[in-house]
Symmetry: C2
Subunit: 96 residues, 2 copies
Amino acid sequence: MDLLVTYDVDTTSTTGARRLRRVAKICEGHGIRVQKSVFEIVCTEAQRVLLEHQLRETIDLQLDSVRIYPLPIRSLDTVSQIGTGVQAHHRGDQII
Amino acid sequence: MDLLVTYDVDTTSTTGARRLRRVAKICEGHGIRVQKSVFEIVCTEAQRVLLEHQLRETIDLQLDSVRIYPLPIRSLDTVSQIGTGVQAHHRGDQII
């Protein structure tokens, strides 16, 4: 499955800055960073459950926000990028 | 159509801060802000073309990044929110 994960972590405290680093680290373990707080992830249902669990355990539920958008397969390829966009190659796709 | 718009604007200069405000203002005119730099938008194809044009004219193409994800209709309702999530009610949906 394809997922888009976006997050806002409240960094007005040092513990917030730590949470932000941890959230980024978790997402890096699952997918490709395309913006500061946006990751594209291709994974299985089990991996998605794990990801959601890890994020839930890491953020401050009263201060931070994580959103996980399930997308139809291959729809990550249909993104319109304007500016300094990253074309994330999931599934080992190569343009030759 | 349903869109998810995410952006990173380089705010290391005062002109960057101004671009950030303008990008947010443009997106506010089309949809609902769900995180600092994430908007959910329900619009027509013509509105999407206008949105993309406005964003392209506003950002610094060398410094900033905008990503527009076209989503299947009603898929915005399937987002998993963790933490301080906003349930954006598009199309006047009401949960009673």
